[in-house]
Amino acid sequence: MKYVIIVGCSRAGRALAQELSSKENVVVIDKSLKNLDLLKEDFNGKKIWADALDVVTLEKAGIKEADALFLLTGNDNLNLVVGKVAKRKYKTEKVVLQVNDAMKKKIFGEEGLTIINKTYLLGEVLKKCIL
């Protein structure tokens, strides 16, 4: 069983948390209680209602033991800062973050960070459809 931390419980984060929690050890962090409450009853993980920019929150979520960290808030800058800190300070093995700006992806990309750009992904999928 993998230990996974998900920051951001909006659509993507929530869907991922819901699905992963049946097989893996999942912790979800969001600063909005409303978002956390939207997780369905069969969500089998831990919810933390707090600010992910506070290292106390990250440590409470078990960042030191986590196998993977997913940063899926809608805030590119938050995702980047927390992702970089996880990699540098906590040596988290897999750090995956959503960054919607292609330019930032290029500048802030570093070894060990998997940066996902939704728009780019969608474009690639759409292109495949016509090939």
């Binding site: 600010d51 920019l53 506070d54 290292v55 106390v56 805030n75 590119d76 800058n77 938050l78 980047l80 800062v81 927390v82 970089k84 800190v85 540098r88 300070k89 700006d101 330019m103 930032k104 500048i107």
Partner: protein, 221 residues
């Protein structure tokens, strides 16, 4: 000097106006269009750029490569960290200053190697704490992020140094008396200066010696 300030909130604005008064060249960046429009009509001689300063293109528009100091003063700590990171690591700016909105976020500033995080909340909290406490010691000025302090000490009646001359007083190392305020009089102390109860002493001390200094002047901590 040329200074770029990201974030035209209250702090950014006051800073811009003050720097302008000191004849510096100032550029303000904010992402709020309405705010920028109203500032542009009010402020002369301050360049205003409407845009998100966490984007390198916007910083480039502000001629960031020519800047002497960059200031990240937005109300979002993640943005301030990114702005300072871009200024320092991407554009090679030597002096970057960043506002910290929430002291809990300080570790992130540290791990992201932001050079000068200014934690206004903690600074204000300390000032209020000092004002509120009835201590005889007051911190007037902190230099080098608080490592060196200029303090004011009110000499009480029962002070161990009262009515002694300076040459007979043993001060902790790393502390020095700068002046003695006695009513309207300002005395620059020498060895023969006598300390009287009611004197206000201005002293410079390294932060580690502050308690020792307090003990030797007041007798208690």
């Amino acid at each position: 000097m040329y200074i770029v300030i990201a974030g035209a909130g209250r702090l950014g604005l006051i800073l811009a106006e003050r720097l302008k008064e000191d004849k510096h060249q100032v550029c303000l960046i904010d992402k709020n269009r309405e705010l920028c429009d109203s500032l542009a009509s009010k402020l002369d001689n301050i360049m205003i750029i409407c845009g998100d300063a966490t984007y390198p293109g916007v910083l480039r528009e502000a001629k960031i490569e020519k800047v002497d100091v960059s200031v990240a003063a937005t109300s979002a700590d993640e943005d301030n960290i990114i702005i300072s990171y871009l200024a320092k690591d991407f554009f090679g700016i030597k002096r970057t200053v960043s506002r910290v909105n929430d002291p809990k976020h300080i570790p992130l500033y540290k791990y992201m190697k932001v050079d000068n995080p200014v934690d206004s909340i903690s600074i204000i909290a300390r000032v209020v704490e000092e004002e509120a406490s009835f201590s005889d010691v007051m911190n007037l000025l902190s230099i080098k992020k608080g490592r060196l302090s200029i303090v004011r000490v009110d000499i009480p009646e029962d002070s161990p140094v009262a009515n002694k001359s300076l040459k007979d007083i043993e001060l902790p190392s790393n502390s020095v008396l700068i002046s003695v305020l006695r009513g309207p009089e300002i005395v620059i102390p020498s060895g023969s200066t006598t300390i009287l109860p009611g004197d206000e002493i201005i002293a410079a001390t390294l932060i580690d010696s502050e308690t020792d200094l307090t003990r030797s002047l007041i007798g208690k901590v």
